[in-house]
C-alpha cells in the first residue's frame, strides 16, 4: 500500500460547449507525435505524452496563469520562449521542452525564487511534499548567487533590527497555518479560492516585493471571509499553507480512497495515513462527485473519530435513573436479546422496532432493516429520511416513477437556468454549491426561491437574476403561480408533454393551474412577493434553455412537502426539463447516506428499492432468501412509533446512529415517548441526547473504521474503506450481526461485500453492483444488464413509470398560523461548519466558527421587542420554549426568525411542533409560529434538562481498592 499520487496535467481538460466533442490536433513534442483535443495547452499535451514540463504556478484544477516562467518551451518557427501552460496546441506544431536556452532560463528563475526563500528544508513541514524543492532538483539548481543581504521575507530580524518585510505565522485557523516567509506568490491559493471554491476570500496585496497573500483586508484567516475549505492549502506548492496535522505528525506514508461521512454530496478523499494515524484527508481528483474539492467538514473535521468522549465499551442499566454500568459485549447482547424477547412476549410482536442510520453504510442499514423484519418479525423500521426527504421519495415516485433525483452533479455544467428552491447549497452541500457558483459565473442564470437572502442570492461574482423571498409555508402557492404563468402564457413544451406524459392528466392539470386564483397577482399578498418577479422567474425557467431545479428541506419539511415535490415535477415535465443533461429535478439530500438508507429498505412500508411490503412476489423472494415469513403489513414510521410509545403499546427500540431527541421535532413528545420505553438500545460513537433515555449503549464505529458503501444524492454508490481498527472492537455492521445472532438468527457475514452481494441478488436495480465493480468505478443506480456502468441521467426517452403523471397540487395553508400570541414564523436550518445535530462537528476545531446556535431576527422585529445584537432571548411556541442569543440581521425578512439545531444546550426542537407532511409524516420543521422576548437566563426546560442530562450520563466507577 503506497501513497496515492494523482498525475498533475498542469492545466484543465478543455471542454466543448454543452460537452460537444472537440476537434483533434496532432503536434510533435520532443520528437514524439501526440494527438489532443483543440484548446489543450502544450503543458497538458506534453504530460499526456509522458513528459513533465517544470512548473510552479500551474496545476490542472486551475486555469493557466503564466506567472512562474518555469514552464517555458521552444516552438519551431516561433520567436521566444512561450509559457507552455498558456499556449494552446496547434496542428503540426513542433515543441522542444528541454534545450540549453530553456535550461539557462529556468535556472535563473529558480535562483531568484530561492534567493528569497528559507533553506530550512530538513525541518520544514513540507519536506517530502514540496514542489519548490522538486523544481529546484528538476532544473538542476546548484547555487544561489544573490545571498540574503538585501530585502527579504525570510528573517524576522536583519542587521539587528526587526525586518519590516517579515510577517509572523498566522495560526488563527484551527486546521492550517499561513507562513508568508515561504510564499513564492504563485497565486495558486488565490486562484483556488476564486475558481474552485468561489469564495474570493484571498487576494495578493501589494506589488513587486511587497506582494503578499492576504485573506480579506490583510486579516487573519479565521476572521476573514475564508470558509476553510482548504483548497488553498491543497494548491500551495510550498509550506506556506500547511495542515497543522502535517506539522504535528509529519508526512503520510500510505493512503486509501474513501468516501466522506458528512453531507449527501459524497466527496471522495484520500485518507493519508501514518500507520493507523490519520494525517490528512485530501479530496481525490478522480472523485466523481467532488473532482478534487472539499469543504471544511470533510477535509478537516474528522477529529471526532478519535475524540476522548467516544464510548468504547458496551454499557447497560435497568432504568434511566441509574448510572451506566460497563459490561462485556456478550453480556450487553444477551441482555438486549432477552429484553426484546420479553417485551414481544408481553406486548406483542409489533411492540418493538428500530431506526436504521443514514450515517452508516448501505450494508449496515440493510442489516438493521433485516434484523427488524426477520428477527423482530415486523416492519417497524424507519430512517431519518422520514424527517428530511421522505416527501421526495413519495412525490417523485408518484409522478416520474422513481424515488430519487434525475441527474448527476456534473449535469450542472450544461445548465442555463438554475432554479434553487428551499436549499442553501453553499452551506449545506458546499462542494456542489461551489460547482453551482462556478456555472453561474460562466453565465447560467439563477432563480432563488427562499425566505432568506442566502449567499447564492448575492455574493462575490454571483447574483440571482430573481430572488423570490416568499413567506415560509407558501411553496405550493408559489409553484402553482409559476405553473399558472407557464400555462397561461403558452410556455408549455407541448410536444414533449404529448410524447412523454399522460395527456389527459396534463390537460386536467393545465386547467387547474390556469384558474385565476393561482395567478401571481392573486397570491402576491400571502406569498409576500411581487407578481412581476414571479412572472419573470416563470418565463426564465420555461424559456431560458436547459433549466434544472435544485431543492432541499425547505421544500420537503412542510405539511405540504409532498405536494410541493409533485408541483416541482409538474413544472419540470410541463417545460420539458427532464431526461437529458443540464436539466432535471435534483433533491439535495442531507446526510451522507440518506439516499442509500432509503434504497436499502429502511422505510416501514418498503423492501429494498422501494418495493411495497404488500407485494407478494417480492416478499416471497425475501422469504426464500432469509428463510422467514415477512409481515405483509406496513410498519410504524418514526413519529408513529413515538405516538404508539406514548399510547403504551410500543416498548422497545433499537436506534443506530441517530439522535432523535435532538433532531426530531417536538422534543417534549419525543422524550415522553422514549421515557416510556422498557428497552431502548442506542448504538453511537457518543452518549448522545437519545442515549440519555437508553438502557443499552452499544459503542459505534466511525467511517474510518469500516468497509462498506455510501450512496450520495446523485444515486452514486462509492466505497468506504477501512483505514484503522475500530476503537470499540467492532464495525457497526458487526454489532448488528451480534444482535441478530443474540436473537437467534443464523447470520455469518465476514465482510460487507457479502451483504452487498445479497442486496444485488434481491434487488433488480442493484443487480450489477458488487464491491469488485466498485473498486473499478463508482456506480449510479440503476446498475443492471441494460446499464452495467450505471445511470447518470434518468428518464431518458421515457419516464421510469411509463407516462409522466401530472397530479393536481392544491395549496392548503398550514395550520401553523401566526396570531397575537405567536406573531413570528420560525424556520430552521444548518450552517456550513456544523453538521446535523453536531455530534461530530462539535467535537472538532469547527467550533471556532459556530460555538452556539443563535436566533436570526430582522432589525425591525428586534427593535419592536427591545432586542439588541447578542441579547439572550426566549423563543416560545405552543410546543415549548428555550433561550438563545439573538443575531440582528436583514438576512431574514420581517416576521421571520431563523435558527440552527446544532447544539443540545439550545434545543430548537423543543419549539418545533408535531405538524407533519400529509403523505409521509415528514415534520414541518420549517414553519413554527413563535414569539420572541428578552430572557433573563435559560428556560426552566433547559435548566431541568441540563440536570437530567448530567445525571443520566453518569458511568459507574469501580470503587478503588
Amino acid at each position: 500500500m503506497a501513497l496515492i499520487k494523482e498525475l498533475d496535467y498542469g492545466t484543465p481538460e478543455p471542454r466543448g460547449p454543452y460537452g460537444a466533442a472537440l476537434a483533434q490536433v496532432t503536434l510533435t513534442i520532443d520528437g514524439q507525435a501526440v494527438t489532443v483535443p483543440e484548446g489543450t495547452s502544450i503543458m497538458r499535451a506534453a504530460q499526456i505524452a509522458g513528459t513533465t514540463i517544470p512548473k510552479l504556478c500551474a496545476t490542472d484544477n486551475l486555469d493557466a496563469f503564466g506567472s512562474c516562467r518555469l514552464c517555458l518551451v521552444e516552438i519551431q518557427g516561433r520567436n521566444g520562449t512561450p509559457a507552455s501552460c498558456t499556449t494552446p496546441v496547434a496542428p503540426g506544431m513542433v515543441v522542444h521542452t528541454q534545450t540549453d536556452k530553456l535550461k539557462r532560463l529556468r535556472n535563473g528563475v529558480m535562483e531568484l525564487y530561492i534567493s528569497d526563500h528559507p533553506l530550512d528544508c530538513l525541518t520544514c513541514a513540507a519536506n517530502g511534499d514540496c514542489e519548490l524543492q522538486d523544481m529546484a532538483g528538476a532544473v538542476g539548481l546548484r547555487e544561489v548567487r544573490y545571498g540574503y543581504d538585501g530585502r527579504n521575507h525570510v528573517f524576522a530580524r536583519q542587521d539587528g533590527k526587526a525586518n519590516p518585510d517579515w510577517k509572523a505565522k498566522d495560526t488563527s485557523n484551527p486546521y492550517f497555518t499561513y507562513d508568508a516567509s515561504k510564499c513564492i506568490v504563485c497565486n495558486r491559493c488565490v486562484r483556488a479560492c476564486d475558481e474552485v471554491q468561489g469564495t474570493f476570500a484571498l487576494t495578493i496585496s501589494g506589488r513587486g516585493l511587497d506582494s503578499r497573500v492576504s485573506p480579506g483586508q490583510d486579516e487573519g484567516f479565521l476572521s476573514s471571509e475564508c470558509v476553510s475549505c482548504g483548497a488553498c492549502v491543497q494548491a500551495c506548492p510550498t509550506a506556506t499553507l500547511t495542515e497543522k496535522a502535517v506539522i504535528e505528525i509529519g508526512q503520510p506514508e500510505h493512503s486509501k480512497v474513501t468516501t466522506c461521512a458528512y453531507c449527501g454530496v459524497g466527496c471522495t478523499f484520500k485518507a493519508e495515513m501514518r500507520g493507523e494515524t490519520l494525517v490528512r484527508m485530501v479530496p481525490w481528483k478522480d472523485g466523481a462527485a467532488n473532482h478534487g474539492h472539499s469543504c471544511v467538514k470533510g477535509r478537516f473535521a474528522w477529529g471526532y473519530a478519535t475524540h476522548k468522549e467516544r464510548i468504547l465499551n458496551p454499557m447497560i442499566r435497568s432504568s434511566i435513573q441509574e448510572p451506566w454500568r460497563e459490561v462485556s459485549w456478550d453480556e450487553a447482547i444477551a441482555y438486549t436479546a432477552s429484553e426484546f424477547k420479553r417485551i414481544q412476549e408481553k406486548y406483542g410482536k409489533r411492540s418493538v422496532g428500530g431506526i436504521a442510520s443514514s450515517r452508516c453504510t448501505n450494508e449496515e442499514a440493510y442489516l438493521v432493516q433485516k434484523l427488524i423484519r426477520q428477527g423482530f418479525g415486523n416492519n417497524n423500521v424507519d430512517t431519518c429520511a422520514r424527517v428530511c426527504h421522505s416527501p421526495t421519495g413519495y412525490g417523485l415516485s408518484q409522478t416520474l416513477g422513481t424515488s430519487a433525483g434525475t441527474q448527476d452533479f456534473d449535469s450542472i455544467r450544461d445548465t442555463d437556468v438554475i432554479l434553487v428552491i428551499g436549499c442553501n447549497p453553499t452551506d449545506a452541500h458546499p462542494v456542489f454549491g461551489s460547482a453551482m457558483k462556478r456555472r453561474i459565473r460562466e453565465g447560467a442564470k439563477l432563480i432563488v426561491i427562499d425566505p432568506r437572502r442566502t449567499d447564492l442570492v448575492k455574493s462575490a461574482h454571483i447574483r440571482a437574476e430573481v430572488h423570490l423571498p416568499l413567506k415560509p409555508s407558501t411553496n405550493v402557492a408559489m409553484l402553482n403561480a409559476l405553473a399558472y404563468v407557464i400555462v397561461t402564457e403558452g410556455l408549455v413544451a407541448e410536444q414533449y408533454v404529448r410524447e412523454r406524459c399522460d395527456w389527459d392528466e396534463f390537460q386536467e392539470w393545465a386547467e387547474f393551474v390556469a384558474r385565476p386564483e393561482h395567478s401571481p397577482e392573486a397570491v402576491a399578498d400571502y406569498l409576500g412577493v411581487p407578481a412581476a418577479d414571479v412572472r419573470a422567474a416563470a418565463r426564465l425557467y420555461a424559456t431560458g434553455g436547459n433549466a434544472a431545479i435544485y431543492y432541499g428541506l425547505g421544500v420537503t419539511e412542510h405539511s405540504q412537502g409532498s405536494t410541493a415535490v409533485i408541483a416541482i415535477a409538474n413544472l419540470a415535465m410541463a417545460t420539458g426539463n427532464v431526461g437529458r443533461r443540464g436539466v432535471g429535478i435534483n433533491p439535495l439530500r442531507g446526510q451522507n447516506n440518506v439516499q442509500g438508507s432509503c434504497d436499502m429498505g429502511s422505510f416501514p412500508h418498503e423492501l429494498t428499492a422501494y418495493r411495497h411490503v404488500s407485494n407478494d412476489a417480492v416478499r416471497e423472494q425475501f422469504n426464500k432468501a432469509w428463510n422467514t415469513v415477512l409481515d405483509d403489513e406496513p410498519g410504524l414510521r418514526i413519529n408513529n412509533m413515538f405516538d404508539a410509545a406514548v399510547d403504551g403499546v410500543f416498548k422497545g427500540m433499537y436506534i443506530q446512529a441517530e439522535d432523535v431527541v435532538q433532531s426530531d421535532p417536538d422534543t417534549n413528545h419525543v422524550t415522553a415517548a422514549l421515557a416510556s420505553l422498557e428497552c431502548l438500545v442506542v448504538q453511537d460513537l457518543f452518549l448522545n441526547e437519545t442515549a440519555l433515555f437508553a438502557h443499552v449503549f452499544l459503542p459505534g464505529s466511525s467511517f474510518l473504521e469500516k468497509d462498506g458503501t455510501f450512496t450520495n444524492a446523485e444515486r452514486r454508490l462509492q466505497l468506504v474503506r477501512k483505514v484503522m481498527t475500530p476503537k470499540n472492537g467492532y464495525a457497526d455492521w458487526e454489532v448488528t450481526q451480534l444482535m441478530a445472532q443474540g436473537m437467534g438468527l443464523d447470520w455469518n457475514y465476514t465482510h460487507p461485500s457479502q451483504v452487498m452481494d445479497e442486496i444485488a441478488a434481491l434487488t433488480p436495480v442493484f443487480s450489477g453492483v458488487s464491491f469488485d465493480r466498485l473498486e473499478e468505478e463508482s456506480l449510479q443506480w440503476p446498475v443492471n444488464e441494460a446499464a452495467p456502468h450505471g445511470t447518470p441521467i434518468m428518464h431518458i426517452d421515457h419516464f421510469v413509470r411509463g407516462k409522466g403523471r401530472f397530479i393536481l397540487t392544491e395549496y392548503v395553508p398550514t395550520d401553523e398560523k401566526v396570531g397575537p400570541r405567536f406573531p413570528l414564523l420560525l424556520t430552521t436550518g444548518r450552517i456550513l461548519s456544523q453538521y446535523n445535530v453536531g455530534a461530530q462537528t462539535r467535537r472538532t476545531g469547527n467550533m471556532a466558527w459556530h460555538d452556539k446556535d443563535v436566533l436570526e431576527i430582522h432589525p425591525q422585529d428586534a427593535e419592536d421587542r427591545g432586542i439588541r445584537e447578542g441579547d439572550l432571548v426566549k423563543l416560545q411556541s405552543r410546543a415549548g420554549a428555550m433561550a438563545l442569543h439573538a443575531r440582528v440581521t436583514d438576512k431574514v425578512a420581517p416576521g421571520v426568525v431563523y435558527t440552527t439545531f446544532h447544539h443540545p444546550e439550545t434545543p430548537a426542537n423543543v419549539v418545533t411542533t408535531d405538524a407533519s407532511d400529509w403523505a409521509t409524516n415528514c415534520p414541518e420543521y420549517k414553519v413554527t409560529a413563535v414569539q420572541v422576548t428578552l430572557a433573563n437566563g435559560p428556560t426552566e426546560w433547559q435548566q431541568r434538562y441540563d440536570i437530567f442530562a448530567r445525571d443520566s450520563r453518569r458511568i459507574e466507577v469501580e470503587p478503588a481498592e
Binding site: 403499546v649 415522553a672 392544491e810
Partner: protein, 99 residues
C-alpha cells in the same frame, strides 16, 4: 389487537395536554386519536381536488399503504363510532378500508 380494543386503548392512552418531563408549562400536544384524525383529513384534503371516485380511492389506498394495522384499526373504529372530526371524504375512504 382488534379494532375495538385499539380504540379503547386509544381513549385511555390519549395523553394529557401539557405533559413534559422538563417543565410545568402548558404545551398543547395532540392525543394520538386526534393526530390520526388530523392525518386522515390532511390526506383527504390532498386528494379532494381530484374527481370524487379517484379521490376516495387515492385516500383509501394511501392509508392502506402507509398506516400500520393498529393505526388503521383505530381510525376505522373511530369511523364506526361516528367519525367525529373527520371530513366526509376521509370518512368515505376509511369506510372502504378492507383491513
Amino acid at each position: 389487537m382488534s379494532a375495538d380494543r385499539g380504540h379503547e386503548a386509544g381513549r385511555e392512552g390519549a395523553h394529557e395536554a401539557g405533559h413534559s418531563l422538563f417543565d410545568d408549562e402548558q404545551h398543547i400536544t395532540t392525543s394520538s386519536d386526534q393526530r390520526l384524525v388530523t392525518m386522515a383529513n390532511q390526506i383527504a384534503r390532498f386528494f379532494s381536488s381530484q374527481k370524487h371516485d379517484t379521490a376516495v380511492e387515492g385516500c383509501r389506498d394511501h392509508i392502506a399503504k402507509f398506516w400500520d394495522p393498529r393505526m388503521r384499526g383505530r381510525i376505522r373504529a373511530h369511523v364506526a363510532d361516528g367519525g367525529a372530526g373527520l371530513t366526509p371524504l376521509a370518512k368515505e375512504a376509511i369506510a372502504r378500508l378492507t383491513r
